[in-house]
Symmetry: C2
Subunit: 138 residues, 2 copies
C-alpha cells in the first residue's frame, strides 16, 4: 500500500495542477482542502520541490506551484520519491535493489521471476501514466 505521504503528494500535485493559472498556492489552502495536517504537508511539498517537481515563492503572497508540465510527471517518480521501491521484493527492485539474505541463488529463485513480472506490469502503467492523466479524469 502507498503511504499517506505519497497519497497526500498526489492530492497536492493534483490541486496544484488544477490551479496552475492561479500562481502560487498556499500550503494551507491545500491542507484545508483535503484535511491534511499543515505541517505534515509542508514537509511533503518541500520534498517535491527539492526533487524538481515544484517551485515556490517565499514571503507574503508566496506559495507553491508546478514547475514541470503535468505530462512529464510520471506517477512512478512520485511514488519512488516518497515511498521508495515499487517492486514487491528488494531483489527485483530497479532503483533500490538489494539481494535477499535468505536466497543463495537469486537466478534460481521462482519467486524472484514472478515478482519481476509483477514489477514490469506495474511499471508499464505507473511510468506511462502522468499527472496529466489524473487531471483529465477529474
Amino acid at each position: 500500500m502507498l503511504s499517506k505521504k505519497t497519497k497526500y503528494a498526489f492530492h497536492a500535485l493534483t490541486y496544484l495542477g488544477k490551479n496552475q493559472d492561479k500562481g502560487a498556492i498556499l500550503i494551507q489552502e491545500i491542507s484545508e482542502n483535503y484535511g491534511i495536517s499543515h505541517k505534515f504537508l509542508e514537509n511533503i511539498l518541500l520534498e517535491l520541490k527539492k526533487a524538481g517537481f515544484l517551485g515556490s515563492k517565499k514571503g507574503k503572497g508566496g506559495g507553491y506551484y508546478l514547475i514541470k508540465p503535468p505530462n512529464e510527471i510520471a506517477l512512478s517518480r512520485i511514488i519512488r520519491l516518497l515511498d521508495g521501491p515499487i517492486a514487491l521484493l528488494p531483489c527485483v527492485s530497479l532503483n533500490y535493489y538489494e539481494p535477499c539474505e535468505e536466497c543463495e541463488n537469486q537466478e534460481r529463485c521462482g519467486l524472484n521471476k514472478v515478482m519481476i513480472r509483477v514489477r514490469d506490469e506495474t511499471l508499464k502503467i505507473l511510468e506511462m501514466k502522468t499527472l496529466q492523466d489524473i487531471l483529465e479524469e477529474e
Copy 2:
C-alpha cells in the same frame, strides 16, 4: 514491498513443496535452512495451517506438510493472508476495501482509476501463479 513474514511463508511453502514425499518436516529444519528465527517461523506456519494450506503432526516425529496441491496455492492467497491488501490504495482493494477519507468522490478520482489498473494487472499474475510454478522454476 512484501513483509518478511510473507517472504518467509513462501520459503517455507517452497521447502515443504520440495519435500512432499518426506512426510512431516520440522520447523527447525526450515528455519535453519533459511536462517529464519525458529519462533517467528512457528507463528507463520501456524497461520498457514489455520488457513488450510498446511497440516501438522504434533509430538515426537511431528512437523508440517503441505495439505493442498501446490497448483492450488495461488500466490495472491498467501500474500493476502500474511500481508493484507495487494492493492496500492485502500479504495481499490477487493478484499480490504476502505474509502479514502480525503476523497469526496471516489468515482471521479483519477488516482483511483490508475490504481485499479495496477491492481488488476498485478492480480492477473498473482492469482494465476501458484506454488507449483515456483517449484518448477527451482
